[in-house]
């Protein structure tokens, strides 16, 4: 995963990666403004995907090396959805298979709701935020991470603490995180996020409920959809989030399916990259 590019997306300088040829596949990472997640989350999947797809991964607005939202009032999940849409316009991507992890999974569902014409198929991965919030796990993990003063070790702890096997933090990922997570831009995003959290959370709950109603009313009925879940996800548990997600999607989306990978925490595409990529490839090639 090399040669990051930058593009102006309606005034938001945006980092992205692009490689390969074939069906366009856009990867959307999780987290929100000021969090450590970025396009680099996909570094263990990237090379393999480029053999079959024209792959894109971007840093969402206010994450990684993409600019922060212009105003504090823009610290809403909808801002990230609009940014992804505008990004597709900016790079000339008319329509793509979109795969979203965690809050990125919620984002791709909203993208299909707001701009269905740009979505070829939908892949939602361990998207707790599409379902019900379970903040306890991350609150506890972040609290335990405070013991680390070294930024690199702190983020290694956080990522491995979200995993099943503790083997998912690569040097490449850690190197990249250290380039932005403590920089002034990201500190500002974190501070604004903390301030705006109550507004974002209320807005998210309402939009999430609207999204469920829309899905139940057949909003995704023409969209090929793959739901992926990790059996051992602690932040978005299979019983509390994964199974309800299955019951939300499958009855309302004719061309949908669910795949559950084993011995994996939240970052299933990092924990089992080969199997994860094979499942995605089989899904898209089967359309």
């Amino acid at each position: 995963m090399e040669d990051a590019k930058f593009i102006d997306v309606n005034g938001t300088r945006t980092r992205y990666f692009e490689a390969g040829q074939g069906e366009p596949l856009l990867l959307i990472h999780g987290g929100q403004f000021g969090m450590y997640n970025s396009a680099r989350d996909w570094d263990r999947n990237w090379e393999d995907f480029t053999k079959d797809f024209h792959v894109y991964a971007l840093d969402k607005v206010g994450q990684g090396h993409s600019d922060n939202p212009a105003r504090a009032d823009d610290y809403l999940l909808g801002t990230a959805t609009q940014h992804v849409y505008d990004f597709m316009q900016a790079v000339g991507l008319e329509k793509a298979h979109v795969a979203g992890h965690s809050r990125g999974g919620y984002l791709v569902a909203r993208l299909a709701l707001e701009h269905p014409e740009v979505v070829k198929s939908l892949i939602m991965i361990d998207s707790g935020s599409l379902m019900w919030s379970t903040p306890e796990f991350y609150e506890d993990l972040n609290k335990r991470a405070e013991a680390y003063t070294d930024v690199r070790e702190k983020h290694r702890f956080i990522l491995e603490g979200s995993s099943f096997a503790g083997t998912i933090a690569t040097d490449e990922w850690l190197d990249d995180v250290t380039t932005y997570v403590d920089a002034p831009k990201n500190r500002e995003a974190m501070a604004t996020m903390a301030e705006m959290w109550p507004t974002l959370d209320i807005d998210h709950q309402k939009n999430r409920d609207d999204t469920h109603d829309w899905i139940r009313a057949g909003g995704l009925k023409d969209m090929p959809t793959l739901v992926i879940w990790a059996y051992d996800d602690q932040g978005a548990p299979i019983i509390k989030n994964g199974i309800p997600c299955m019951h939300l999607i499958l009855p309302n989306v004719p061309n949908s399916q669910m795949h559950i990978l084993n011995q994996s925490g939240h970052y299933v595409f990092r924990e089992h990259p080969q199997e994860f990529n094979a499942v995605i490839r089989t899904f898209i090639h089967g359309l």
């Binding site: 499958l250 669910m258 795949h259 559950i260 089989t282």
Partner: protein, 287 residues
């Protein structure tokens, strides 16, 4: 799916189909003695799988064109497991990927328990018989079909009503079923199965419990396992059987996963043959 072969399996004349080259794969149908299920349940999958694998499909003992058990006391599920083992030996298969549907899924798990050396991997498809004791759905279905006197119509009715879409009956399958369901052999198997049912059932319940305990203790811990389920299976419902099967297998089998197909009844490999084959192919080729 053409040119059936016959082989003597410890005195049981056994019908099977064989085609293709590659990793050996054996497809095991559901049902039991005197059920209409047989090797041609896989007629919508067989030729495509033969493009990648050395595929076998066998009529289990007392089903299709394979001889009945010699003694009424042999009308227990363990007899079918031993017959499968002996069949593998008779055709010179030292080890194979086993794909088992319904009672065939239970049979391959027992085969892994009793003869682990012959199993390369397990694909367990909608196997209610691993999980629950009885499926009233089939009793009710048989009652609903009782008024149909024409055997062809009767079996078409039962198959259609086990499905989601009603489009899973092929002429090839129906022709084949007609070639055995009116034979004296078949009638004897049905009558003996009814007579021996209480014994068979008590034995099955005891062995089912033993099998679950064995799995939970790590009996399958070294085997690659794929569990697949149809979201709309009426005989082996996802809530009652599928989710519990996931919770039985995934925590105890490191190299396992679950795939849930949508808009399908019990015969998921007939209802979505392309998607089913692709999922099995991805699983086995990823090992």
């Amino acid at each position: 799916m053409e040119n059936p072969k016959f082989v003597d399996v410890e005195g049981i004349r056994t019908r099977y189909f064989e085609a293709g080259q590659g990793e050996p794969m054996v497809l095991i149908s559901g049902g039991q003695f005197g059920s209409f299920n047989c090797a041609t349940d896989w007629d919508l999958n067989f030729d495509d799988l033969a493009g990648d694998f050395h595929v076998f499909a066998v009529d289990k003992i007392g089903q299709g064109h394979t001889d009945n058990p010699k003694d009424p006391s042999d009308y227990i599920l363990g007899t079918a497991v031993q017959h499968l083992h002996d069949f593998l030996k008779a055709v010179g298969l030292e080890q194979a990927h086993l794909v088992g549907h319904s009672r065939g899924g239970y049979a391959i798990v027992r085969l892994a328990l009793e003869h682990p050396e012959v199993v390369k991997s397990l694909t367990i498809v909608d196997s209610g018989s691993i999980m629950h004791e009885a499926a009233p759905f089939y009793v009710e279905l048989a009652e609903k079909a009782a008024h149909i006197t024409d055997p062809r119509e009767k079996h078409e009715f039962m198959m259609v009503n086990s499905s989601f879409s009603g489009t899973i009956v092929s002429d090839g399958w129906l022709d084949d079923v007609m070639s055995f369901v009116t034979t004296p052999k078949y009638r004897i198997a049905q009558e003996t199965d009814v007579e021996m049912w209480p014994t068979c059932h008590v034995d099955h319940v005891a062995r089912q419990k033993e099998t679950k305990e064995w799995i939970a203790k790590g009996g399958l811990s070294d085997l690659p396992v794929l569990v697949t389920w149809a979201y709309n299976d009426q005989g082996a419902p996802i809530e009652e059987c599928g989710i519990p099967a996931m919770h039985l297998i995934l925590p105890s089998v490191p190299n396992s996963r679950m795939h849930i197909f949508n808009q399908s009844g019990h015969y998921v490999f007939r209802e979505h043959p392309k998607e089913f084959n692709a999922t099995v192919r991805t699983f086995i080729q990823g090992l």
